[in-house]
């Protein structure tokens, strides 16, 4: 478990600003979702925005770290769209 904590610390330390942006956006996403609780359309728009932001964040993050590959972008897109379609079943529009 020690090496996991060490790896997490290292990852967060090396990419502090990137993760700070991601977590801040996530917190705002939760606050706004809570604010528009019960407004299905707004909830869907917020989810769509968060997914879009996540894909852009991933692309930007790997571009700046010189580890950008098409395969990586596809992975972010797949995870983003997977989440979007899963929750869309509940937020039926």
């Amino acid at each position: 478990m020690k090496h996991l904590v060490f790896a997490l610390k290292k990852e967060l330390k090396n990419n502090f600003l990137d993760y700070l942006i991601l977590i801040t956006f996530g917190v705002f996403f939760l606050i706004l979702t809570n604010l528009f609780k019960g407004e299905r359309f707004m909830e869907f728009i917020l989810l769509l925005t968060f997914v879009g932001f996540y894909i852009l964040w991933g692309t930007y993050h790997h571009l700046t770290k010189n580890s950008f590959r098409l395969k990586i972008v596809v992975e972010y897109i797949l995870i983003g769209f997977l989440v979007l379609f899963l929750l869309k079943i509940i937020l039926i529009i």
């Binding site: 996991l4 993760y19 939760l30 079943i89 039926i92």
Partner: protein, 300 residues
């Protein structure tokens, strides 16, 4: 047993056989997940679940009635009697909100909740109203009301003797909405609004949980709603729970897979070209939390 062990090992732990990345997180598997999610979307639309449930809700009048009285019982208060007149008023109120497109206790034309109660033939000494929309589960509605001081006061007001409910699906502000209206009352004269037994409500296709206004046949002899709620359980409420569970279980599965993959990749010092597991983990974690928020609707 060994095969099962190997299967999970292959699925979650990066090793030589899965090209040093948990199989459950590889691109081909992500494509399969996405395909299944799209298929589920398509299937639920195809079977017209939207029209049956509005938003796949699991809310029933019996469950609301049961939970409301449970909260009162916990505090030593007498149970509320189910009033068909109050349910009729609640239904009219919900219909009025859809027709005039508002979400409030008072209509834009100045109509009050008390107007609906009086027009249903219930002459009250005390009356109250709780509203909720777009909740997924009955217990979520009652627990949200109990967490709000004003709604809680309504549920626990000792003066009230009767309660009525309506759960109606419709379009509000351009979007499919499930409205829940709960109306409380104490009749001015006991002989005007006599006690009524809860009706048996069985949801069928394209039918909403509205009070049954005209049929004595729908009355059942069972006084206890616990028995009634058993009767009202149907396949669609099961589907709505199923949808919620799919989302919850699947997102949790992804979190576990990401955690294991990250843990073992670090343990074995693997260098890989891929997206960041930690980033995926954070993203899915926030989405999972939002799912819990989404399951709760709004109350006024």
């Amino acid at each position: 047993m060994k095969k099962l062990k190997n299967f999970f090992y292959h699925l979650f732990i990066p090793n030589e056989k899965n090209n040093y990345k948990a199989k459950s997180l590889q691109t081909d598997f992500l494509f399969i997940y996405l395909f299944i999610a799209i298929l589920l979307n398509f299937t639920f639309k195809k079977i017209n679940l939207v029209n049956v449930l509005g938003f796949a809700t699991d809310i029933t009048i019996n469950k609301l009635y049961q939970l409301t009285n449970l909260e009162r019982e916990k505090r030593g208060l007498p149970d509320l009697s189910y009033s068909e007149k109050l349910s009729q008023a609640a239904y009219q109120k919900a219909q009025d909100m859809f027709t005039k497109n508002y979400w409030a206790h008072y209509a834009p034309d100045g109509k009050t909740p008390w107007d609906f109660i009086l027009s249903s033939g219930y002459t009250y000494e005390y009356a109250g109203e709780n509203l909720a929309k777009n909740f997924l589960f009955s217990d979520g509605v009652v627990s949200a009301w109990m967490n709000s001081p004003t709604h809680r006061d309504n549920i626990l007001k000792k003066e009230y003797t009767d309660v009525g409910f309506a759960i109606v699906n419709g379009v509000l502000n351009g979007e499919e909405t499930t409205l829940v209206v709960q109306m409380f009352g104490k009749p001015l004269y006991k002989n005007i609004a006599k006690e009524e037994k809860p009706p048996e409500i069985i949801k069928t296709k394209n039918e909403v949980n509205t009070p049954n206004l005209n049929s004595e046949k729908t009355y059942v002899n069972n006084q206890k709603p616990a028995v009634l709620s058993k009767n009202t359980k149907n396949i669609f409420s099961d589907i709505s729970k199923f949808i919620f569970s799919i989302n919850f279980v699947f997102l949790s599965f992804l979190l576990v897979a990401l955690f294991f993959d990250f843990y073992f990749a670090e343990k074995f010092n693997l260098l890989r070209i891929e997206g960041k597991n930690l980033a995926h983990f954070i993203f899915i974690f926030f989405v999972l939390l939002s799912l819990l928020i989404i399951s709760k609707g709004a109350i006024i």
